[in-house]
Symmetry: C2
Subunit: 354 residues, 2 copies
DNA sequence: TCCCTTGCCGAAACCGGTTTCGGAGATGAA
DNA sequence: TTCATCTCCGAAACCGGTTTCGGCAAGGGA
């Protein structure tokens, strides 16, 4: 079923039918309607490749997943893909997925670009120094970042407001009586990391507190790393009463070392994390965390990328979405015991500026 | 950089260059080499859409993921995608991914087929009555099933030998002294389910045992369902000493109800499951499970599908891969206690045949 | 009445490849 | 030498669309 068949049925030429279906202004309204009606009576679908060759667009959004053995577990990938797919499908676009070893994505992008398998890319996991940005800019290929930071000028981006989530986390924990609050960050080099850290610092500052550098750990993106960080923190002379993790998977490592030291999460130690990993719901007590609507994020990113490809300037394509707090058991704190000794001094009050 | 540019550089016509690069026999060997050399000196890549329009192939393998809220968690999706992507990329193919609500995949396939966004499909999660098979057959679109069963005649398929895994599980458990072995199946309707069940039955039979129908539960594909099934089984008059789960996620639900009944997994109750979910490694004791090499499976499926599209008959495209047993703590059994009362009778011995 | 717009469609070029067909030149046999 | 055969490449059609261009006919103004 080609456009020529439709044209023959209508007694028109294929050029006319093409213009009619694509809303060219030089087509009579009646003709346009007739064409449209006949086209979908005959079940006509333009062949993607055929239009691509002339228009230069294949109506596909590209997604390159970087496979990282250390951090391979992505519980939300399916939701994210579903969101992207929906957003794309709504405009008859599709999703081209490829994978690459974490450092060597360059060739993968190159191939997809040269063979024009995608009109643009969604870049998950924005990094602070992101080589993908340079690459795509050099090739003049549109893209949308998932995650933002200061050096992403001129880029279109979408982000979940992790900073605000952490800011509110600070408020909540302070309101619940915590003064010594620790922070365990995730993979350094990724934008989300600095964002969440900054948000926590900001939130504490608003309550007149500073984040004690001794209570900060970095690079915990696995359960094992979370266990190690927790152990270190709890073994300090003045251990924290609350630990904020940048990622759920690390947070799930808090239970064992805490228990081994006679402290119960949700009673003697508050734990709050970020991601909304369903696994957290099965912890005992369940992990309090900030859930991200990955499906929605995917849909928005798809829509933004399509607009970008169609010409909307990058500056007009920026948006954020809030995360949602799941205030579960691990965030409570009953101060029923005080393993750090009574009278442990408060977290240092801040100095003058900011 | 089009083929015409290459032709101009060579002083040939584009038709000749096309034939040279595609190994037509009517091209002189010297010309072929010269063309190839110039082509990749100039960095020429044929435009996928352009070839697609004439050849009818877009060099893309299609994958439609059915989003199932109840069973949405797919910890291996990224590995599987990586495998597919690698297998495809090795032959300059790409991967087109779409998602669909679990029952309503039909339209998604239709669209992908009509717009020729994929030359064939990999069908994950083969079901016993699989509407996708009819659909694709009717449209005469090649496909490869991931998972097999008796009614998949005439189909190309690849499968991980879950039956043999369960068979060996039976042997192992019997060797460790178990006689009352329970089985908790996953989502009914999926091929893997019957396969694993049958494998366990077979393995027990080889040791002269039968699977007691009272020790069988179905439909447990989540942690919560696994908890419920475990609770039921342990509350029987003659509870099992070992439980075999079809899926890891359900198996992870065994710990709590066991503990609540004073039985420790890995001591009073053996638990073996299937999938190799990394989460199982963090259970206490860690979950014994059969790990599947999802990446390898993806690669094989991609290769098979490409061959299928290129004309290899379905009957020649069938293969299996073994799963690998991770014999961890939950599978041990020390019979240090006997909550079912001493002298609990053995699992009934089988009758005459088979 | 004549000319100039305007609306609307046909014709044809075009996109970047693939594939068919035919013919020029070399080769070999008669 | 002549004719048939092969080898190898050019020319052109083709795939299924999109886009440009030109022209016919109707409508409007002078």
């Amino acid at each position: 079923m080609t456009i020529s068949d439709v044209a023959a049925e209508l007694g028109l030429t294929k050029g006319t039918v093409s213009r009619a279906l694509n809303d060219y202004p030089d087509i009579a309204e009646g003709t346009r309607l007739r064409a449209r009606r006949v086209a979908d009576r005959l079940g006509y679908r333009p062949l993607g490749s055929a239009q691509a060759i002339r228009t230069g667009r294949c109506r596909a959004i590209g997604l390159v997943l970087e496979t990282d053995e250390h951090d391979a577990h992505r519980p939300f990938l399916d939701l994210f893909l579903a969101g992207l797919s929906d957003g794309a499908a709504a405009q008859s676009w599709t999703l081209t997925v490829a994978t690459a070893p974490v450092g060597a994505a360059r060739e993968t992008y190159q191939r997809l670009i040269e063979e024009r398998k995608a009109d643009g890319f969604v870049l998950p996991r924005t990094r602070l120094e992101d080589p993908r940005v340079e690459l795509l800019r050099a090739s003049d290929v549109p893209f949308v970042l998932f995650g933002r930071h200061k050096t992403t000028e001129g880029c279109a981006w979408f982000d979940v407001d992790g900073a605000d989530a952490m800011r509110q986390t600070a408020h909540t924990l302070v309101a619940r009586g915590h003064r010594r609050i620790a922070y365990v960050g995730g993979s350094p080099g990724y934008a989300y990391n600095g964002e969440r850290h900054a948000g926590l610092v900001h939130g504490l500052a608003e309550k007149g507190l500073a984040l004690d550098p001794k209570l900060v750990r970095h690079g915990a993106n696995s359960r094992a790393a979370g266990e190690a960080a927790t152990a270190e923190l709890l073994d300090l002379a003045h251990p924290p009463t609350a630990i904020v993790f940048a990622v759920d998977r690390a947070a799930l490592g808090a239970w064992r070392p805490a228990e081994a030291r006679g402290r119960l999460v949700g009673r003697d130690l508050a734990v709050v994390a970020y991601d909304g990993d369903p696994e957290g719901a099965y912890a005992e007590p369940p992990l309090a965390t900030w859930a991200v609507d990955w499906g929605r994020a995917g849909t928005v990113l798809a829509e933004m990328l399509i607009k970008r490809v169609l010409g909307t300037p990058a500056e007009d394509l920026r948006d954020t979405m809030p995360a949602q707090f799941l205030d579960r058991g691990s965030a409570s704190f009953q101060q029923s015991s005080d393993p750090a000794g009574s009278g442990a001094e408060n977290q240092s009050h801040m100095g003058g500026d900011s």
